[in-house]
Symmetry: none
Subunit: 205 residues, 4 copies
DNA sequence: AATGAATGAGTGTTCATTCAT
DNA sequence: GATGAATGAACACTCATTCAT
């Protein structure tokens, strides 16, 4: 039997999901409440029973996404014992988790990557999400440097470069032209390539 | 004497410039024609004497920008004789030119980096710009591989990674928090760091 | 023991009371059913179990109020024997009763005085209330004229002037600025002043 | 020849006039912008070319009205030499001016008398208008008291009573039932009756 | 009796675009 | 070339009312 609770959650969840997809696909401004409710098969007013405003639902979507995204990043890193091999392995693991998450949450990632021109508050929250992810990576780099795995350098620059790689790769992997070599790679393959570039650059083997 | 022709060009140029700045600063959708003409000190109708529509001016702005941007990228690369040292040098040169151009054309870069959620046609043109730049880099990578400077790998992946680095770095360098270590670097310093990472990765010296 | 009947009456009474206060305080249009039910602690649908519509509850509130108001006005007047002194005394008594009633029914009075811009039907009923009160006063004036207490004049004008005085005084006394000399008067004092003006005008002692 | 200036003023003036009439007739909340523009024969957007918002136009209407109304009240009073006869004469003159103004500006008076339930800012401005008029009357009463024409009493109460008379009389004279004896009076007759009541009360001759 | 989710017609406002002058 | 008044299709949001449970 489906309880009231379940129905409400479902409807709310459904609107959240539809909104996320539309925000991701068409952007914040071009997504109209009327489109969302049409797809959900409910009346315009129903949207406002569950959500205070367009801005509010966007913020909730991103907030949720941020939490899940950060969980992945936080869990992905295992403590390394000290060898470069270990660092590479755990980095691969992290990237693979991250890419898998991204693949399973394409809409969220698209919104986080493209949803730049929205309400200010929404923009801020998206920004905050990337900053937090960058901070997580920075912590890992610092630890690796302290363990002597990585040479001493400006960790903020390093993490910035890393995040740049990740953002750009996600964009091209998930939303690039369907026939590119990049699009066809699996999360695992991509993680390996990324790590190779991360540690050894273009010259690395 | 200033001819009518000149005046027209000036006014047209002025509106283009103002529009670029406003598109960059506030985004495509949040930029209103009324704001543009107010800043330009002309009537609403005047805008439509020079430009067919909001979409048209955005396209023209990006088209112009694309041409200049590609010129820099095209000129940046000199022919390499074959040594890794040369490749590094010329890569540094390219990055430095690119960063200098970006610094002198902040508005354009901001629009190209953030202006994702606009009209479809505008989005496509921005996309095309990055693709063309990526292609330019890809050609260079291929040549370096043929010359034996770089090891054999998927050049489309390599250029994708490179462009990702560039985009992310530009975003953080030009539009990141004012007090970060990244923001304070000069174009030359940044180019050197980029190249180091490009060729040697995190482990490189 | 509280019977179901009692509970229902209570709940109904409670909603009526809350609605009256909100109508008075915020006006008919700015009072939302959602506000009323929130304050009553019941669901939106419950309101419509007890009342047909927003208009219906407003009409009922005013209808009730009209009855009580008219009772006061009807009881207020005692038969006068014929002397001016008696007329003044009984007029004072009436005003005092009326002011006391108003003080104990501020919300109702506020609604009757300010609730002008509501549904047409509501407006009509408020109007009717004042007309009936005016008629009561007019009857008294006529009787006083027949008894030779008051000089012969157009009684409809006289009662109109009287009601005007009452309405304006109530408005200022109950809802005027808290620090005015008017606001601080008691019902009895006010009644005396009113009667003095009523019978003798500005020149009267 | 009709200059642009004239046309603009006309259109603006026209919308102001239509809005005033609709606000007066239907109240602030029930007056829709769509009704106003329909009557004016212009598009919805045109309204917003001339006025910032519904609230803004209401405020402008009342502000204008307040100025004209106060002018009448200010001019109406002549300095009195000291006799009661003079005071009565000048009071009659003032009331007559006031009633004439009201007759020629029925819509404004209706809005000022009935437009109680509007936006807060609008409500405040209407209130302010009556307060200023009351102050003008109060000044006159004080002067008359100093000259020994009126007996010493609380002038704030006296002016309050006077304004109450005026408001109530206007309401009934201009908007009362068409067949009443009151409605049929001329401004001059009404002024005389008012003054009689003002100075001598019901007992006065 | 009571709930609260759902409805949908309406409301003020915005803004790119047009056009008579 | 230039003006700025005029347009009207949207759009986000509100709220009295309904109804299945």
């Amino acid at each position: 039997m489906i309880s009231k609770q379940t129905i409400e959650l479902d409807r709310r969840e459904q609107i959240l999901k539809i909104s996320l997809r539309q925000f991701a696909k068409n952007g914040y401004h071009k997504t109209k409440i009327s489109d969302i409710v049409r797809e959900a098969g409910v009346a315009q007013g129903t949207f406002y029973w569950y959500f205070k405003s367009k801005e509010a639902i966007a913020l909730e979507i991103i907030q949720n996404g941020q939490i899940h995204f950060l969980e992945v990043v936080a869990q992905g890193y295992r403590q390394t014992t000290g060898s470069v091999q270990d660092a590479i392995k755990s980095s691969e693991k992290l990237f693979e988790d991250l890419f898998n998450f991204a693949e399973n949450n394409k809409d969220l990632i698209e919104l986080l990557l493209k949803g730049v021109e929205s309400e200010d508050s929404v923009y801020q929250l998206i920004n905050e999400t990337w900053v937090k992810i960058e901070e997580a990576f920075q912590r890992n780099i610092k630890r690796a440097t302290e363990l002597g795995i990585l040479p001493e350098k400006d960790p903020s620059l390093q993490s910035a470069l890393l995040i740049s790689l990740i953002e750009g790769t996600l964009l091209r992997w998930l939303f690039g032209p369907k026939d590119s070599t990049l699009t066809k790679k699996t999360a695992n393959e991509l993680a390996k390539e990324m790590v190779r570039f991360e540690f050894f650059g273009l010259l690395g083997i």
